[in-house]
Protein backbone atom coordinates (compact mmCIF):
# COMPACT_ATOMS: atom_id res chain seq x y z
CA UNK A 1 0.00 0.00 0.00
CA UNK A 2 2.88 2.36 0.71
CA UNK A 3 4.29 2.02 -2.80
CA UNK A 4 0.85 2.15 -4.40
CA UNK A 5 -0.05 5.32 -2.49
CA UNK A 6 3.31 6.81 -3.40
CA UNK A 7 2.77 5.91 -7.07
CA UNK A 8 -0.67 7.53 -7.03
CA UNK A 9 0.64 10.73 -5.43
CA UNK A 10 3.32 10.94 -8.10
CA UNK A 11 0.59 11.60 -10.72
CA UNK A 12 -0.53 15.00 -9.32
CA UNK A 13 3.14 15.77 -8.66
CA UNK A 14 3.93 15.25 -12.35
CA UNK A 15 0.80 17.13 -13.46
CA UNK A 16 1.74 20.08 -11.23
CA UNK A 17 5.39 20.17 -12.31
CA UNK A 18 4.38 20.10 -16.00
CA UNK A 19 1.75 22.77 -15.43
CA UNK A 20 4.23 25.06 -13.68
CA UNK A 21 6.70 24.58 -16.53
CA UNK A 22 4.03 25.34 -19.13
CA UNK A 23 2.99 28.54 -17.32
CA UNK A 24 6.43 29.76 -16.24
CA UNK A 25 8.76 29.03 -19.12
CA UNK A 26 12.01 30.17 -17.53
CA UNK A 27 14.94 28.03 -18.64
CA UNK A 28 17.49 29.01 -16.01
CA UNK A 29 18.81 25.72 -14.65
CA UNK A 30 18.84 27.13 -11.10
CA UNK A 31 15.06 27.28 -11.10
CA UNK A 32 14.39 23.66 -12.08
CA UNK A 33 14.10 22.63 -8.44
CA UNK A 34 11.89 25.62 -7.63
CA UNK A 35 9.57 24.60 -10.44
CA UNK A 36 9.47 21.00 -9.25
CA UNK A 37 8.75 21.90 -5.63
CA UNK A 38 6.08 24.43 -6.60
CA UNK A 39 4.64 21.97 -9.10
CA UNK A 40 4.29 19.11 -6.64
CA UNK A 41 2.40 21.30 -4.14
CA UNK A 42 0.21 22.95 -6.76
CA UNK A 43 -0.46 19.57 -8.38
CA UNK A 44 -1.62 18.09 -5.07
CA UNK A 45 -3.88 21.08 -4.47
CA UNK A 46 -5.38 21.21 -7.97
CA UNK A 47 -6.03 17.45 -7.85
CA UNK A 48 -7.97 17.82 -4.61
CA UNK A 49 -10.08 20.58 -6.22
CA UNK A 50 -10.71 18.33 -9.23
CA UNK A 51 -11.72 15.47 -6.97
CA UNK A 52 -14.08 17.79 -5.10
CA UNK A 53 -15.86 18.56 -8.39
CA UNK A 54 -15.66 14.92 -9.40
CA UNK A 55 -17.54 13.86 -6.26
CA UNK A 56 -20.66 15.55 -7.65
CA UNK A 57 -20.59 13.26 -10.68
CA UNK A 58 -20.67 10.12 -8.48
CA UNK A 59 -18.45 8.36 -10.98
CA UNK A 60 -15.47 6.11 -10.43
CA UNK A 61 -13.00 6.96 -13.19
CA UNK A 62 -10.97 9.64 -11.39
CA UNK A 63 -7.69 7.86 -12.11
CA UNK A 64 -8.44 7.86 -15.84
CA UNK A 65 -9.12 11.59 -15.64
CA UNK A 66 -5.77 12.14 -13.90
CA UNK A 67 -3.91 10.10 -16.50
CA UNK A 68 -5.66 12.06 -19.25
CA UNK A 69 -4.62 15.40 -17.72
CA UNK A 70 -1.05 14.17 -17.20
CA UNK A 71 -0.83 13.13 -20.87
CA UNK A 72 -2.28 16.43 -22.06
CA UNK A 73 0.18 18.44 -19.95
CA UNK A 74 3.07 16.23 -21.08
CA UNK A 75 2.10 16.98 -24.70
CA UNK A 76 1.85 20.73 -24.02
CA UNK A 77 5.14 20.75 -22.10
CA UNK A 78 6.82 18.92 -24.98
CA UNK A 79 5.54 21.56 -27.41
CA UNK A 80 6.97 24.45 -25.40
CA UNK A 81 10.12 22.63 -24.31
CA UNK A 82 13.40 24.50 -24.47
CA UNK A 83 16.70 23.25 -23.10
CA UNK A 84 17.71 24.69 -19.74
CA UNK A 85 20.67 27.10 -19.68
CA UNK A 86 23.61 25.64 -17.79
CA UNK A 87 24.42 28.47 -15.37
CA UNK A 88 26.31 26.58 -12.70
CA UNK A 89 29.42 25.04 -14.13
CA UNK A 90 31.70 25.66 -11.16
CA UNK A 91 32.49 22.64 -9.03
CA UNK A 92 31.10 22.73 -5.51
CA UNK A 93 33.47 24.05 -2.87
CA UNK A 94 34.51 21.91 0.13
CA UNK A 95 32.33 24.11 2.36
CA UNK A 96 29.30 23.52 0.14
CA UNK A 97 29.99 19.78 0.13
CA UNK A 98 30.20 19.73 3.94
CA UNK A 99 26.94 21.68 4.34
CA UNK A 100 25.20 19.49 1.79
CA UNK A 101 26.36 16.35 3.63
CA UNK A 102 25.06 17.75 6.93
CA UNK A 103 21.72 18.47 5.28
CA UNK A 104 21.61 14.89 3.98
CA UNK A 105 22.16 13.59 7.52
CA UNK A 106 19.40 15.84 8.90
CA UNK A 107 17.04 14.56 6.18
CA UNK A 108 17.82 10.96 7.18
CA UNK A 109 17.17 11.78 10.87
CA UNK A 110 13.88 13.47 9.94
CA UNK A 111 12.85 10.49 7.86
CA UNK A 112 13.60 8.17 10.78
CA UNK A 113 11.62 10.44 13.15
CA UNK A 114 8.73 10.56 10.69
CA UNK A 115 8.63 6.76 10.32
CA UNK A 116 8.91 6.25 14.08
CA UNK A 117 6.02 8.69 14.72
CA UNK A 118 3.86 7.23 11.96
CA UNK A 119 4.34 3.68 13.22
CA UNK A 120 3.41 4.67 16.77
CA UNK A 121 0.45 6.92 15.92
CA UNK A 122 -0.68 5.96 12.40
CA UNK A 123 -3.91 7.95 12.75
CA UNK A 124 -2.04 11.15 13.62
CA UNK A 125 -2.87 13.57 16.41
CA UNK A 126 -6.04 15.15 17.84
CA UNK A 127 -6.89 17.38 14.86
CA UNK A 128 -6.23 14.50 12.47
CA UNK A 129 -8.92 12.35 14.13
CA UNK A 130 -11.25 15.26 14.80
CA UNK A 131 -11.01 16.95 11.42
CA UNK A 132 -8.74 15.90 8.56
CA UNK A 133 -8.82 12.08 8.60
CA UNK A 134 -12.39 12.04 9.92
CA UNK A 135 -13.60 14.06 6.92
CA UNK A 136 -11.66 11.74 4.58
CA UNK A 137 -13.43 8.78 6.24
CA UNK A 138 -16.83 10.41 5.84
CA UNK A 139 -16.21 11.10 2.14
CA UNK A 140 -14.92 7.60 1.43
CA UNK A 141 -17.40 5.70 3.60
CA UNK A 142 -20.53 7.73 2.78
CA UNK A 143 -20.35 7.22 -0.98
CA UNK A 144 -23.10 9.23 -2.65
CA UNK A 145 -24.02 10.78 0.69
CA UNK A 146 -20.58 12.43 1.04
CA UNK A 147 -22.11 15.89 1.63
CA UNK A 148 -22.90 14.67 5.12
CA UNK A 149 -19.53 16.24 6.04
CA UNK A 150 -21.28 19.64 6.03
CA UNK A 151 -24.05 18.63 8.41
CA UNK A 152 -25.02 21.16 11.05
CA UNK A 153 -25.37 18.27 13.52
CA UNK A 154 -21.61 18.14 14.08
CA UNK A 155 -20.32 19.60 17.31
CA UNK A 156 -18.12 22.70 16.77
CA UNK A 157 -15.12 20.54 17.79
CA UNK A 158 -15.27 18.88 14.37
CA UNK A 159 -15.18 22.14 12.39
CA UNK A 160 -17.44 21.04 9.54
CA UNK A 161 -16.67 24.29 7.71
CA UNK A 162 -12.94 23.64 7.34
CA UNK A 163 -11.46 23.56 3.81
CA UNK A 164 -10.87 20.23 2.14
CA UNK A 165 -7.45 20.05 0.49
CA UNK A 166 -5.97 17.61 3.01
CA UNK A 167 -8.98 15.27 3.48
CA UNK A 168 -9.70 15.14 -0.26
CA UNK A 169 -6.05 14.37 -1.01
CA UNK A 170 -6.43 11.35 1.27
CA UNK A 171 -9.91 10.42 0.06
CA UNK A 172 -9.14 10.30 -3.68
CA UNK A 173 -6.30 7.85 -3.07
CA UNK A 174 -8.62 5.67 -0.95
CA UNK A 175 -11.23 5.94 -3.68
CA UNK A 176 -8.83 4.85 -6.42
CA UNK A 177 -7.38 2.01 -4.31
CA UNK A 178 -10.82 1.18 -2.89
CA UNK A 179 -9.06 0.62 0.44
CA UNK A 180 -8.97 2.89 3.47
CA UNK A 181 -5.26 2.72 4.20
CA UNK A 182 -3.53 5.01 6.70
CA UNK A 183 -0.53 4.94 4.39
CA UNK A 184 -2.26 7.58 2.22
CA UNK A 185 -2.42 10.39 4.84
CA UNK A 186 1.02 9.34 6.10
CA UNK A 187 2.59 9.72 2.66
CA UNK A 188 0.75 12.96 2.08
CA UNK A 189 2.26 14.26 5.35
CA UNK A 190 5.73 13.07 4.34
CA UNK A 191 5.43 14.75 0.93
CA UNK A 192 4.61 18.14 2.43
CA UNK A 193 7.23 17.74 5.19
CA UNK A 194 10.05 17.38 2.67
CA UNK A 195 8.44 19.52 -0.03
CA UNK A 196 8.54 22.60 2.19
CA UNK A 197 12.24 21.90 2.74
CA UNK A 198 12.82 21.46 -0.99
CA UNK A 199 11.00 24.71 -1.72
CA UNK A 200 13.12 26.66 0.76
CA UNK A 201 16.30 24.98 -0.50
CA UNK A 202 15.56 25.56 -4.18
CA UNK A 203 14.46 29.18 -3.72
CA UNK A 204 17.58 30.11 -1.76
CA UNK A 205 19.77 28.16 -4.17
CA UNK A 206 18.26 30.22 -7.00
CA UNK A 207 18.51 33.57 -5.23
CA UNK A 208 21.55 33.25 -2.88
CA UNK A 209 23.92 30.25 -2.83
CA UNK A 210 24.08 26.51 -2.27
CA UNK A 211 25.57 27.04 1.20
CA UNK A 212 22.72 29.36 2.23
CA UNK A 213 20.16 26.94 0.81
CA UNK A 214 21.67 24.06 2.82
CA UNK A 215 21.93 26.06 6.04
CA UNK A 216 18.34 27.37 5.88
CA UNK A 217 16.96 23.92 5.09
CA UNK A 218 18.96 22.43 7.96
CA UNK A 219 17.39 25.00 10.32
CA UNK A 220 13.90 24.22 9.02
CA UNK A 221 14.14 20.44 9.06
CA UNK A 222 15.93 20.29 12.41
CA UNK A 223 13.22 22.30 14.15
CA UNK A 224 11.38 19.93 16.51
CA UNK A 225 8.09 21.84 16.03
CA UNK A 226 8.41 21.46 12.29
CA UNK A 227 9.08 17.74 12.22
CA UNK A 228 6.61 17.16 15.08
CA UNK A 229 3.67 18.94 13.45
CA UNK A 230 4.52 17.68 9.95
CA UNK A 231 4.55 14.04 11.07
CA UNK A 232 1.05 13.86 12.46
CA UNK A 233 -1.08 14.38 9.35
CA UNK A 234 -2.25 17.95 10.01
CA UNK A 235 -3.01 20.67 7.46
CA UNK A 236 -0.53 23.15 8.92
CA UNK A 237 2.46 22.09 6.81
CA UNK A 238 0.57 22.30 3.49
CA UNK A 239 -0.61 25.78 4.55
CA UNK A 240 2.95 26.81 5.49
CA UNK A 241 4.04 25.49 2.07
CA UNK A 242 1.50 27.59 0.12
CA UNK A 243 2.30 30.73 2.14
CA UNK A 244 6.03 30.27 1.55
CA UNK A 245 5.45 29.41 -2.13
CA UNK A 246 3.55 32.66 -2.74
CA UNK A 247 6.16 34.76 -0.93
CA UNK A 248 8.96 33.05 -2.87
CA UNK A 249 7.16 33.65 -6.17
CA UNK A 250 7.00 37.39 -5.42
CA UNK A 251 10.73 37.47 -4.66
CA UNK A 252 11.53 35.44 -7.78
CA UNK A 253 9.37 37.74 -9.86
CA UNK A 254 11.41 40.64 -8.53
CA UNK A 255 14.52 38.80 -9.79
CA UNK A 256 13.38 37.22 -13.06
CA UNK A 257 10.56 39.61 -14.07
CA UNK A 258 8.44 36.96 -15.74
CA UNK A 259 4.80 38.04 -15.25
CA UNK A 260 3.47 34.49 -15.70
CA UNK A 261 4.83 33.80 -12.23
CA UNK A 262 1.89 35.83 -10.92
CA UNK A 263 -0.45 33.10 -12.27
CA UNK A 264 1.29 30.69 -9.93
CA UNK A 265 1.14 33.18 -7.04
CA UNK A 266 -2.61 33.43 -7.60
CA UNK A 267 -2.93 29.65 -7.56
CA UNK A 268 -0.88 29.17 -4.39
CA UNK A 269 -2.92 31.88 -2.65
CA UNK A 270 -6.20 30.14 -3.55
CA UNK A 271 -4.77 26.79 -2.47
CA UNK A 272 -3.83 28.27 0.92
CA UNK A 273 -7.52 29.15 1.37
CA UNK A 274 -8.42 25.61 0.27
CA UNK A 275 -6.10 24.17 2.94
CA UNK A 276 -7.13 25.97 6.14
CA UNK A 277 -9.32 28.92 7.12
CA UNK A 278 -6.10 30.75 7.99
CA UNK A 279 -5.54 30.76 4.24
CA UNK A 280 -8.25 33.43 3.99
CA UNK A 281 -6.15 35.61 6.29
CA UNK A 282 -3.24 34.92 3.98
CA UNK A 283 -5.26 36.13 1.00
CA UNK A 284 -5.11 39.64 2.49
CA UNK A 285 -1.31 39.30 2.80
CA UNK A 286 -0.99 37.96 -0.72
CA UNK A 287 -3.04 40.83 -2.17
CA UNK A 288 -0.93 43.31 -0.19
CA UNK A 289 2.13 41.58 -1.68
CA UNK A 290 0.69 41.92 -5.19
CA UNK A 291 0.10 45.62 -4.55
CA UNK A 292 3.70 46.19 -3.43
CA UNK A 293 5.20 44.20 -6.28
CA UNK A 294 3.05 46.06 -8.83
CA UNK A 295 3.30 49.54 -7.27
CA UNK A 296 4.47 52.09 -9.86
CA UNK A 297 5.20 49.20 -12.17
CA UNK A 298 4.40 49.98 -15.80
CA UNK A 299 2.74 46.62 -16.23
CA UNK A 300 0.87 46.68 -12.90
CA UNK A 301 -2.50 45.89 -14.44
CA UNK A 302 -0.97 43.13 -16.51
CA UNK A 303 0.50 41.61 -13.38
CA UNK A 304 -2.85 41.84 -11.62
CA UNK A 305 -4.42 40.20 -14.67
CA UNK A 306 -2.00 37.25 -14.53
CA UNK A 307 -2.63 36.92 -10.80
CA UNK A 308 -6.40 37.00 -11.40
CA UNK A 309 -6.03 34.33 -14.09
CA UNK A 310 -4.31 32.05 -11.59
CA UNK A 311 -6.61 32.65 -8.66
CA UNK A 312 -10.00 32.90 -10.40
CA UNK A 313 -10.97 29.29 -10.99
CA UNK A 314 -9.61 27.71 -7.80
CA UNK A 315 -10.99 30.49 -5.61
CA UNK A 316 -14.41 30.17 -7.30
CA UNK A 317 -14.49 26.51 -6.23
CA UNK A 318 -13.25 27.38 -2.74
CA UNK A 319 -15.93 30.08 -2.45
CA UNK A 320 -18.59 27.64 -3.62
CA UNK A 321 -17.52 25.29 -0.84
CA UNK A 322 -17.41 28.07 1.72
CA UNK A 323 -20.58 29.96 0.83
CA UNK A 324 -22.88 27.25 -0.49
CA UNK A 325 -21.96 23.99 1.22
CA UNK A 326 -20.04 24.58 4.44
CA UNK A 327 -21.77 25.66 7.65
CA UNK A 328 -20.89 29.05 9.16
CA UNK A 329 -17.55 29.28 10.89
CA UNK A 330 -17.90 29.55 14.66
CA UNK A 331 -16.16 32.95 14.68
CA UNK A 332 -18.99 34.46 12.64
CA UNK A 333 -21.61 32.55 14.54
CA UNK A 334 -21.84 35.32 17.15
CA UNK A 335 -23.63 38.65 17.24
CA UNK A 336 -21.99 41.93 16.26
CA UNK A 337 -22.49 43.13 19.86
CA UNK A 338 -20.46 40.18 21.14
CA UNK A 339 -17.72 40.89 18.61
CA UNK A 340 -17.64 44.61 19.46
CA UNK A 341 -17.49 43.85 23.20
CA UNK A 342 -14.42 41.70 22.58
CA UNK A 343 -12.83 44.34 20.37
CA UNK A 344 -13.10 46.91 23.16
CA UNK A 345 -11.85 44.57 25.87
CA UNK A 346 -8.26 45.79 26.10
CA UNK A 347 -7.28 43.04 28.53
CA UNK A 348 -7.62 40.65 25.57
CA UNK A 349 -5.05 42.66 23.58
CA UNK A 350 -2.57 42.42 26.45
CA UNK A 351 -3.12 38.72 26.93
CA UNK A 352 -2.72 37.91 23.22
CA UNK A 353 0.39 40.11 22.89
CA UNK A 354 1.94 38.45 25.94
CA UNK A 355 1.23 34.95 24.63
CA UNK A 356 2.56 35.86 21.18
CA UNK A 357 5.76 37.05 22.86
CA UNK A 358 6.09 33.86 24.88
CA UNK A 359 5.41 31.68 21.83
CA UNK A 360 7.95 33.54 19.70
CA UNK A 361 10.54 33.12 22.46
CA UNK A 362 9.90 29.42 22.99
CA UNK A 363 9.01 28.24 19.47
CA UNK A 364 11.25 25.43 18.29
CA UNK A 365 12.83 24.65 21.63
CA UNK A 366 16.12 26.24 22.63
CA UNK A 367 17.56 26.26 19.13
CA UNK A 368 15.73 28.48 16.69
CA UNK A 369 13.24 30.71 18.41
CA UNK A 370 12.67 34.34 17.45
CA UNK A 371 15.56 35.81 19.52
CA UNK A 372 17.93 33.26 17.99
CA UNK A 373 16.80 34.21 14.49
CA UNK A 374 17.14 37.91 15.37
CA UNK A 375 20.67 37.29 16.69
CA UNK A 376 21.43 35.45 13.46
CA UNK A 377 20.26 38.47 11.46
CA UNK A 378 22.31 40.96 13.51
CA UNK A 379 25.50 38.93 13.30
CA UNK A 380 25.17 37.66 9.74
CA UNK A 381 24.12 40.93 8.11
CA UNK A 382 27.41 42.75 7.69
CA UNK A 383 27.92 46.21 6.18
CA UNK A 384 30.16 44.82 3.46
CA UNK A 385 27.54 42.20 2.89
CA UNK A 386 26.77 40.77 -0.54
CA UNK A 387 23.26 40.12 0.69
CA UNK A 388 20.08 41.32 -0.97
CA UNK A 389 19.25 44.94 -0.14
CA UNK A 390 15.76 45.96 0.89
CA UNK A 391 14.28 45.18 -2.49
CA UNK A 392 10.63 45.16 -3.37
CA UNK A 393 10.60 41.37 -3.09
CA UNK A 394 12.00 41.51 0.45
CA UNK A 395 9.50 44.21 1.43
CA UNK A 396 6.70 42.07 0.01
CA UNK A 397 7.68 39.09 2.16
CA UNK A 398 7.93 41.32 5.23
CA UNK A 399 4.43 42.68 4.62
CA UNK A 400 3.03 39.18 4.04
CA UNK A 401 4.44 38.04 7.39
CA UNK A 402 3.15 41.12 9.17
CA UNK A 403 -0.36 40.87 7.69
CA UNK A 404 -0.53 37.18 8.53
CA UNK A 405 0.45 37.70 12.17
CA UNK A 406 -1.88 40.71 12.51
CA UNK A 407 -4.69 38.64 11.02
CA UNK A 408 -4.11 35.92 13.59
CA UNK A 409 -4.02 38.53 16.35
CA UNK A 410 -7.39 39.89 15.19
CA UNK A 411 -8.84 36.37 15.02
CA UNK A 412 -7.88 35.71 18.64
CA UNK A 413 -9.47 39.01 19.63
CA UNK A 414 -12.90 37.91 18.44
CA UNK A 415 -12.69 34.18 19.04
CA UNK A 416 -15.92 32.76 20.48
CA UNK A 417 -13.90 30.21 22.46
CA UNK A 418 -12.20 30.72 25.79
CA UNK A 419 -9.24 32.91 24.83
CA UNK A 420 -6.74 31.26 27.17
CA UNK A 421 -7.68 27.80 25.89
CA UNK A 422 -7.63 28.92 22.25
CA UNK A 423 -4.18 30.47 22.60
CA UNK A 424 -2.79 27.46 24.44
CA UNK A 425 -3.97 25.00 21.80
CA UNK A 426 -3.18 26.85 18.60
CA UNK A 427 -0.59 29.59 18.96
CA UNK A 428 2.51 27.47 18.31
CA UNK A 429 0.90 26.00 15.21
CA UNK A 430 -0.01 29.37 13.74
CA UNK A 431 3.49 30.75 14.26
CA UNK A 432 4.64 27.61 12.50
CA UNK A 433 2.56 28.67 9.44
CA UNK A 434 4.95 31.55 8.78
CA UNK A 435 8.16 29.85 9.94
CA UNK A 436 9.40 28.64 6.50
CA UNK A 437 8.62 32.08 5.01
CA UNK A 438 10.43 33.83 7.88
CA UNK A 439 13.45 31.56 7.36
CA UNK A 440 13.43 32.32 3.64
CA UNK A 441 13.45 36.04 4.39
CA UNK A 442 16.21 35.73 7.00
CA UNK A 443 18.54 33.77 4.76
CA UNK A 444 17.70 35.97 1.78
CA UNK A 445 19.04 39.10 3.46
CA UNK A 446 22.03 37.76 5.40
CA UNK A 447 25.56 36.86 4.31
CA UNK A 448 26.11 33.55 2.60
CA UNK A 449 28.37 31.00 4.33
CA UNK A 450 30.50 31.02 1.19
CA UNK A 451 31.23 34.75 1.48
CA UNK A 452 32.03 34.47 5.20
CA UNK A 453 34.45 31.60 4.73
CA UNK A 454 36.05 33.07 1.59
CA UNK A 455 36.80 36.32 3.47
CA UNK A 456 38.15 34.22 6.32
CA UNK A 457 40.44 32.43 3.88
CA UNK A 458 41.57 35.74 2.35
CA UNK A 459 42.38 37.24 5.73
CA UNK A 460 44.43 34.12 6.63
CA UNK A 461 46.33 34.43 3.36
CA UNK A 462 47.08 38.08 4.10
CA UNK A 463 48.34 37.18 7.59
CA UNK A 464 50.59 34.44 6.17
CA UNK A 465 51.95 36.83 3.54
CA UNK A 466 52.66 39.37 6.29
CA UNK A 467 54.79 36.81 8.14
Amino acid sequence: MTLLSLALYSIPAIIGALMVHIIWRGTNSKIILVKISLGVGIGMGITSLLYFLFLFTQQSWFLILLFGIALLFAFLAFRVWQPFDPTHNEPFSPLQKVLFSILAVIIIIDLAAFISTSMRIPHGAWDSWAIWNRVARFIFRSGEDWQRIFSGEFDWLFHADYPLLVPLTTAWVWDVLNVETQKAPMIQAAIFLFLCGLLLFSALFATRSLGTACLATIVLLANPEYIGISSVQLADTPLAFFIAATAILYVLYDKYRQPQMMVLAGMTTALAAWTKNEGWVFMAGSLAGLFIISYKNESAWRLAGWYAAGIALPIAIVLFHKLVLAPTNDIYDQSSVEIMTKLFDFARYGMIAREFGVALFTFGGWGFNAPALLAYYIIMKSKSSDSTPLSRGVLTVLIILLVQLLGYFATYLVTPRDLEWHLAFSLTRIIYHVFPTALFLLFLVTDTPESIFSQLKNSNTVIQQGF
Binding site: I102, V105, I106, I109, D110, A112, A113, S116, T117, M119, R120, I121, P122, H123, W126, W129, A130, N133, R134, R137, F138, R141, S142, D145, R148, S151, E153, F154, D155, L157, F158, L215, I218, V219, L221, A222, N223, P224, I227, G228, G365, W366, G367, F368, A375, Y376, I379, M380, S382, D447, P449, I452, F453, Q455, L456, S459, N460
Partner: protein, 142 residues
Protein backbone atom coordinates in the same frame (compact mmCIF):
# COMPACT_ATOMS: atom_id res chain seq x y z
CA UNK B 1 40.03 38.42 11.20
CA UNK B 2 37.48 40.76 12.78
CA UNK B 3 35.33 39.91 15.78
CA UNK B 4 32.32 39.91 13.49
CA UNK B 5 33.88 37.21 11.31
CA UNK B 6 34.66 35.10 14.39
CA UNK B 7 31.06 35.53 15.53
CA UNK B 8 29.73 34.62 12.09
CA UNK B 9 31.81 31.46 11.85
CA UNK B 10 30.87 30.57 15.42
CA UNK B 11 27.20 31.12 14.70
CA UNK B 12 27.25 28.83 11.67
CA UNK B 13 28.96 26.21 13.84
CA UNK B 14 26.33 26.68 16.55
CA UNK B 15 23.48 26.38 14.02
CA UNK B 16 24.89 23.08 12.77
CA UNK B 17 25.60 21.77 16.27
CA UNK B 18 22.15 22.66 17.60
CA UNK B 19 20.52 21.23 14.46
CA UNK B 20 22.16 17.89 15.09
CA UNK B 21 21.38 17.79 18.79
CA UNK B 22 17.77 18.91 18.29
CA UNK B 23 17.14 16.42 15.50
CA UNK B 24 18.59 13.54 17.49
CA UNK B 25 16.73 14.61 20.62
CA UNK B 26 13.48 14.72 18.66
CA UNK B 27 14.12 11.35 17.05
CA UNK B 28 14.70 9.79 20.47
CA UNK B 29 11.62 11.54 21.90
CA UNK B 30 9.36 9.88 19.30
CA UNK B 31 9.52 6.79 21.54
CA UNK B 32 7.28 8.69 23.94
CA UNK B 33 4.56 8.83 21.28
CA UNK B 34 3.57 5.30 22.20
CA UNK B 35 4.24 1.67 21.57
CA UNK B 36 5.05 0.12 18.22
CA UNK B 37 2.70 -2.78 18.98
CA UNK B 38 -0.69 -1.08 18.83
CA UNK B 39 -1.60 2.55 18.78
CA UNK B 40 -4.30 3.96 21.10
CA UNK B 41 -6.67 4.94 18.27
CA UNK B 42 -6.70 1.44 16.78
CA UNK B 43 -7.20 -0.01 20.27
CA UNK B 44 -10.09 2.40 20.77
CA UNK B 45 -11.63 1.48 17.41
CA UNK B 46 -11.62 -2.23 18.21
CA UNK B 47 -13.86 -1.48 21.20
CA UNK B 48 -16.52 -0.25 18.77
CA UNK B 49 -16.60 -3.15 16.34
CA UNK B 50 -19.58 -4.88 17.97
CA UNK B 51 -21.47 -1.67 18.64
CA UNK B 52 -21.10 -0.59 15.02
CA UNK B 53 -22.48 -3.93 13.85
CA UNK B 54 -25.48 -3.55 16.15
CA UNK B 55 -26.35 -0.13 14.72
CA UNK B 56 -28.76 -0.26 11.71
CA UNK B 57 -26.82 0.41 8.51
CA UNK B 58 -29.21 3.17 7.46
CA UNK B 59 -28.37 5.27 10.53
CA UNK B 60 -27.05 8.70 9.56
CA UNK B 61 -26.74 10.27 13.01
CA UNK B 62 -26.85 9.13 16.63
CA UNK B 63 -27.05 11.02 19.89
CA UNK B 64 -24.23 10.86 22.40
CA UNK B 65 -24.50 10.42 26.12
CA UNK B 66 -21.49 10.50 28.42
CA UNK B 67 -20.63 11.16 32.05
CA UNK B 68 -20.56 14.91 31.41
CA UNK B 69 -24.31 14.78 30.59
CA UNK B 70 -25.32 13.18 33.90
CA UNK B 71 -25.72 15.67 36.77
CA UNK B 72 -23.76 14.79 39.91
CA UNK B 73 -21.15 12.63 38.20
CA UNK B 74 -17.54 13.72 38.45
CA UNK B 75 -15.47 13.42 35.32
CA UNK B 76 -12.23 14.55 33.70
CA UNK B 77 -13.05 17.21 31.13
CA UNK B 78 -10.07 16.44 28.89
CA UNK B 79 -10.82 12.73 28.82
CA UNK B 80 -14.48 13.35 28.03
CA UNK B 81 -13.60 15.53 25.04
CA UNK B 82 -10.93 13.09 23.88
CA UNK B 83 -13.28 10.11 24.05
CA UNK B 84 -16.02 12.03 22.24
CA UNK B 85 -13.66 12.89 19.37
CA UNK B 86 -12.40 9.31 19.15
CA UNK B 87 -15.95 7.92 19.17
CA UNK B 88 -16.89 10.20 16.29
CA UNK B 89 -13.76 9.09 14.44
CA UNK B 90 -14.51 5.41 15.06
CA UNK B 91 -18.18 5.62 14.10
CA UNK B 92 -17.64 7.65 10.89
CA UNK B 93 -19.64 8.10 8.64
CA UNK B 94 -22.34 8.16 11.31
CA UNK B 95 -22.63 11.61 12.88
CA UNK B 96 -22.34 11.52 16.67
CA UNK B 97 -24.23 14.56 17.93
CA UNK B 98 -24.01 15.88 21.47
CA UNK B 99 -27.74 15.67 21.87
CA UNK B 100 -30.09 12.98 23.16
CA UNK B 101 -32.95 13.81 20.80
CA UNK B 102 -32.17 10.88 18.46
CA UNK B 103 -33.69 7.45 17.94
CA UNK B 104 -30.31 5.85 18.66
CA UNK B 105 -27.94 6.97 21.39
CA UNK B 106 -24.38 5.86 22.00
CA UNK B 107 -23.67 5.81 25.71
CA UNK B 108 -20.13 6.12 27.03
CA UNK B 109 -20.97 5.89 30.72
CA UNK B 110 -19.43 4.60 33.89
CA UNK B 111 -21.69 2.18 35.73
CA UNK B 112 -22.60 4.84 38.28
CA UNK B 113 -23.45 7.38 35.58
CA UNK B 114 -25.56 4.86 33.68
CA UNK B 115 -27.55 3.96 36.83
CA UNK B 116 -28.13 7.62 37.61
CA UNK B 117 -29.16 8.44 34.03
CA UNK B 118 -31.56 5.48 33.91
CA UNK B 119 -33.26 6.51 37.17
CA UNK B 120 -33.70 10.11 36.03
CA UNK B 121 -34.83 9.47 32.45
CA UNK B 122 -38.37 9.14 31.29
CA UNK B 123 -39.44 7.16 28.23
CA UNK B 124 -38.94 3.67 27.03
CA UNK B 125 -35.53 2.41 25.91
CA UNK B 126 -33.91 -0.78 24.72
CA UNK B 127 -30.36 -0.84 26.00
CA UNK B 128 -27.59 -3.08 24.72
CA UNK B 129 -24.48 -3.11 26.87
CA UNK B 130 -21.07 -3.63 25.35
CA UNK B 131 -17.84 -3.93 27.21
CA UNK B 132 -15.71 -0.87 28.07
CA UNK B 133 -18.64 1.18 29.44
CA UNK B 134 -20.34 1.39 26.05
CA UNK B 135 -24.09 1.29 25.58
CA UNK B 136 -26.30 1.37 22.51
CA UNK B 137 -29.61 2.88 23.52
CA UNK B 138 -32.65 2.63 21.27
CA UNK B 139 -35.43 5.03 22.03
CA UNK B 140 -38.63 2.98 21.66
CA UNK B 141 -41.03 5.58 22.99
CA UNK B 142 -40.10 9.22 23.51
Amino acid sequence: MTIRRILQVGLIGWVIYSSFTQSFAYLISTKERGSLEQDPVTTWETKFVRLKKALPTSTVAVGYLADWDVPGITYNDGNQYGEYVLIQYALSPVIVARDTDYEWLVGNLTHEAYEKWQRSTQGSFEVSFFRNNLYLIHKVKP
